[in-house]
Subunit: 431 residues, 4 copies
């Protein structure tokens, strides 16, 4: 059943954004927000900052999102991070090699004071050896208590009014959803028993929900996106969202496939290869991870193309996805797609797409949008998985089990969501 939002009051006070992982995404996000605040750059790609929505029925012209709904202003955001390395956000940003050195030097004083709290490290989930700055492993409940403590101390020392937790940690090793993840009771018992199927990302999410902090999961890890924790988010009346930010190849796929379908062109095959030089690439080089990724990508294409409705067009689609770790690409990402389409009488044609993109540059504005919109959703009284935020994810967590992948449908859901919170539509879909 759809929730009915209440129109929130203007945003007041500071929002504490606590981020798990001080890697390329987090540092690009934080440094970028500081740069925008100081007029050193523009928040390109963030719909909350530069987007518009149609106005109320009586004045349907375009209205900037920030005028339609009361968003938190950028100067009101404060940041805290956890990491398993002791580097400051300044130092991590330099290492990440995403933003130009010149800009980072200008922001150095502000970035250097953000020092990470000790992270939770579990070698079963992240195969990185040098965890030089993690909290001692004394069981799950102890970890949760540690997170609580960090959050509380941040809240007090930084004068925080509301919070959002963002998971931007390294992708965890692939893990299937099992019984302990399906039911809150079982989850909590597993927590107490130090069950090895509970990953660090889940511990952070659990800790946040218990304190009624909304959770945004940017990564492919499960984190908040398992039934047990979604149940908790409903019970605690906290909105959550995720997972796996839609950047790069999948973004283009969910643009192009709806377009070909809108014109009734057939697709015989879709071959996609990705080369990545960063940590993500390393993790995905593992065949098990890849398999799951490939299946999830295939599912997205099927959800868009509806082969059951169009057997002549999409019934025989062969879909192959490759993800290769290729260090020369660094944080940049490159995709090459070959799409075998067919037209009149089945005659074949081909589309090739080469996308030279930058992971964190594409991801950071999405993370900013999600922080501001999940905070807005919380203030509007919404809870649980937020379907209208599907636009941002490769693998959107939804309430009714039916994922939407078509970018244009996602965008419409998003727009309807914003307008419902604005109180401008009685019958909007999807919030």
């Amino acid at each position: 059943m759809r929730q009915k939002p209440s129109r929130p009051a203007p945003a007041k006070g500071r929002v504490g954004v606590v981020v798990v992982g001080a890697g390329a995404l987090s540092t690009t996000l934080i440094a970028g927000i500081l740069a925008v605040r100081r007029g050193l750059g523009k928040p390109i790609g963030a719909l909350t900052q530069l987007g518009v929505v149609p106005g109320p029925p009586e004045r349907p012209g375009p209205v900037p999102v920030g005028q339609a709904v009361p968003l938190t202003a950028l100067p009101d955001l404060a940041f805290g991070v956890w990491d398993i390395l002791p580097d400051s956000v300044y130092r991590s940003a330099v290492k990440a090699q995403v933003l130009e050195r010149e800009l980072l030097e200008e922001l150095r004083p502000e970035l250097d004071v953000i020092r990470p709290w000790r992270g939770i490290f579990d070698p079963r989930f992240v195969h990185r050896i040098e965890a030089a700055h993690c909290r001692p492993r004394q069981g799950h409940l102890d970890s949760v208590a540690g997170i609580d403590k960090d959050i509380k101390s941040f809240r007090e020392t930084a004068g925080i009014d509301r919070m959002v937790l963002v998971n931007a940690a390294s992708t965890e090793v692939y893990q299937s959803v099992e019984d302990v993840h399906r039911d809150l009771g079982m989850f909590e018992r597993a927590l107490a028993a130090d069950d090895e199927r509970i990953s660090p990302a889940m511990l952070y999410a659990y800790a946040a929900l218990k304190q009624r902090i909304p959770v945004v999961n940017c990564t492919p890890s499960h984190a908040v996106n398992v039934p047990a924790l979604l149940q908790l988010s409903e019970e605690m009346k906290v909105p959550v969202t995720g997972r796996d930010l839609k950047t790069g190849q999948t973004l283009l796929k969910t643009i192009l496939a709806p377009g070909l379908k809108a014109r009734g062109l057939g697709i015989a095959g879709w071959y996609s290869t990705n080369i990545l030089g960063n940590r993500d690439g390393e993790v995905l080089d593992d065949p098990a991870c890849l398999k799951s990724k490939e299946e999830s990508k295939l599912a997205a294409l099927k959800a868009i193309l509806e082969p059951e409705l169009y057997p002549d067009l999409y019934g025989g689609l062969v879909h192959r996805v490759r993800i290769d770790y290729y260090p020369p690409r660094r944080d940049n990402k490159e995709a090459w797609d070959n799409i075998d389409i067919f037209g009149w009488l089945g005659y074949p044609m081909q589309i090739k797409i080469n996308f030279l993109c930058r992971d964190s540059i594409l991801a950071a504005p999405l993370a900013l949008d999600l922080i501001l919109l999940i905070d807005l959703a919380a203030r509007a009284g919404l809870r649980g998985a937020q379907d209208w935020l599907s636009l941002y994810f490769k693998n959107p967590t939804v309430r009714n089990g039916r994922q939407v992948h078509d970018l244009f449908v996602q965008r419409q859901l998003w727009e309807d969501g914003v307008r419902r919170i604005a109180g401008w539509t009685a019958n909007g879909r999807g919030v």
Copy 2:
């Protein structure tokens, strides 16, 4: 003011499709329809044949287009053509080198009997020397009378109940719209005075409208798409549509641009090059033609991106379009696009698209859709330019002067159009 369609009765009787020009498109269309009738191929790309629309409010599931509205069945189509060469449709199809020889041999008996009527040839508009089969040039009114005679004789001998005229002739030399094209009175005076600004494509369109035959213009030529003839279509209560079928590069452009915009990504530059080996390529090799094409393509991008609303994202867009005649490509067409996009803080990324397409294979199903839908529109009492058919055109002719280019908005207009004719929506947009 929007017209209100009446739900048409089931289609009965034969529809005579009279086509100007027996080139690659026409022969691929006709041979393809014959092949589909005989189960030798599928009408891929034709939404009327394989598409669905949402059903009526009470049963909103997908309904095949042919069940939603009463379309003419393929076996009820009969074909006549004009050309300035005497080759039969079989022979022209062989020369066009689009369809495989094997298929054409199977269809040979049916294709060989379609012999062209003598075409109107005006060397000012088409720089082709060997017009071995044209009617003697004895003035515009004589040409119109000749067209009338061909149509009437076809109607009688073939037992035709309704007709559609399709312009698929070679693109005419670029021509600006002048006073004689703007007003019906002036147009008719110019007709009588053999004014050289009236092209063959306009003569065919005029003759058709005077006989209340709907007109579909597949080419970039003006044909029916000048104010004077649109006025005539309103007066004669005949629906018309055009111009320049949207295939190839522009199709992808109007898919991709809305997608990038939906996510707020900036675009710094868009470089497009096309290589064509057919007649179209030869015509467009002319700098004057190209200039007009380039401007029209730029207009399409601007109409989609709305730089006035998003100055930070699209205000500085540099758009370059190249069209080159390259004989090795024959009827195939190839496009290469480089798109310079930017994200967070303005950091640049690139998308390259290489589209190996086939002009007539993409165009034929659009022509089939347009024939069936303009006939449907006529039976539904619609007249003048049909905005809801914008989906099919690079340069859609519309009633209110405001072209829509975004493929997804066009598709919605199309769907609304079909559903309004079906009587399923009281408040649909765009018919």
Copy 3:
């Protein structure tokens, strides 16, 4: 030690070409030669037919290869094939979908009479189930005897004067070179013992050599290209060559890499992906095969680039190769390469290559050249591995153990080889 060829007499009599495997390559080769004989096509890609070499020192201008050395004329070639399916060469050619149906119909009478002899089938080496036409498995020596019988009967019934055996069978499962392959004595003992490390391709090669028939191995299988059989070729004084015809991506790689090196440009990474829809693709989809392919390709790059001589330019090269089975491509093959180069002060640049090629169309002229040139070599008294034929192979078998991969050096060796046989160079390299 280099062999000294004697100038052969003009070619007289018929050459029997016995081909293992009647797949895409063999049928394209045989049908193509018949087509060329009848003037229905040109033997593009065959240097023996269209190439030139510099003339003798006193007249150094270009001389057609066929005038420089006495090659067998195409009408003097006769064909026999083995296969594990009973289809005639006509039927196999139709199934292979490489050549146009129209051409095959014209050649049908000549192709249809070539019926395969029963092939040797060993499920350990070829994972194909439907071996409907193989000789009963009764041990290696029985298989060899069977091959002998087929060859002799062909020789007699077809009036054959000389022979060449060509291996064009499906690639066998990857196999490491072991002791039984290293020494002729051990090999023959293993033969008698039905050792499972001896593959069908080796049996054909062994049988041919024992009858002093030169062997050409077009495939990546070992066949004649193991030390034991090379030893036999020396002893029997028969020339042999192979393995893995250089078509597609590796061809371009061995063109481009020498070019970049000639100008001192650095290479940081080379990412290659291949999509194949034919049997080769299926076989290579196996990770074990791929690994070996990847290593062999890396070796070729290293042999060309000499990183030990140019550590600043090629010392850090990351090379990744992907081969993916993608059925929509059929016999066509497609490669996409991304090459990360660097120039002045290490600044990066990129080259992307997309090669849409056809395996058998590229391979057939190489097979023709090899048949004619190995026959020439035999008549010139050359024996063992023919280094000067390296031009044709991804993995050239050489006498001295030092493979040459640079296409331009290979071409020079080839030219020197032809000219030495012509008697035009006292000091040529490489024969």
Copy 4:
């Protein structure tokens, strides 16, 4: 007649490099050499720095170029520049946006002291308005005298022993070679008469030659590369070289075409498009320039492919070249090539190449090589056009009128040239 070099003595003393034009190339060259001297980068792409040649016949292993012949060491180079803007080399380098700001800051003191002498400006040849730093236009002879004075003063103040003049100015407007450029006598009379067909680039070259200073022309302008000035270079016994550095698309073309030819593959069409954002792109946007560029590129392909020798393979080649000014690319350059090749029986295949390159990064090491090698040639007593330096140019100036374009033949000529100067080959070609 070929010249016989004498082996030069070890290089002693300082070489003054006087550069016309302080744009992207010059500043990248000068800053790069300074960076290399200080160990801040490597001179990638410069064969004089990182290349090898085969040693003398008795020890044929690879020998570094700098050990084979006595080159001037980098610390012995001193730089002077002319420009029509007053910016220092530091400031020009910042504006050029080629090298990273960080590096330029480190080199700032050394770059900032290189202040340009006033340049010669002639609005007929360079359509740039803001020539804020040019010498007053008082006739050609006065300009030559001014250049002389700048050179002499530099020689004295900087303690220069030898000199090289490098033309790296903006490309001049296209100009056909006329009688005044064909004969030295006529040229000198035209000089006295202020003939408008004599361009600034020619004035610099003339002045240099009269002082026996070798000239390197990096640009497509004529400069020293007209018969009259080549005659002067012979008379003054000074070596010269040029024109139009071979970077980017032509580099790849002259690598790939020889490779395809070496394997006898046919080429039906070659379509090349270039997008450039710098001054070069602006100049080439002019149709007249482009036409001449297109013809010169076609000539290069023909010179490599020899269609007269291979009519079946290259007789029907369609070659199209596009060069488009596209500001978003800045100093980067991008090429897209489509090559339609054909194999066995004429079946078509395609190669597409996308080259993302950087003009000045590719050009700077060539300029360094040319400075050191022309100085070497002068010391070896060579004069006039240096054919063995063809490797570096799109349009190499040669003595015998027959240009070589095949990169691999050029490379061999280069190697032979170096080895002849080293005294290692009695019968080398091409010096």
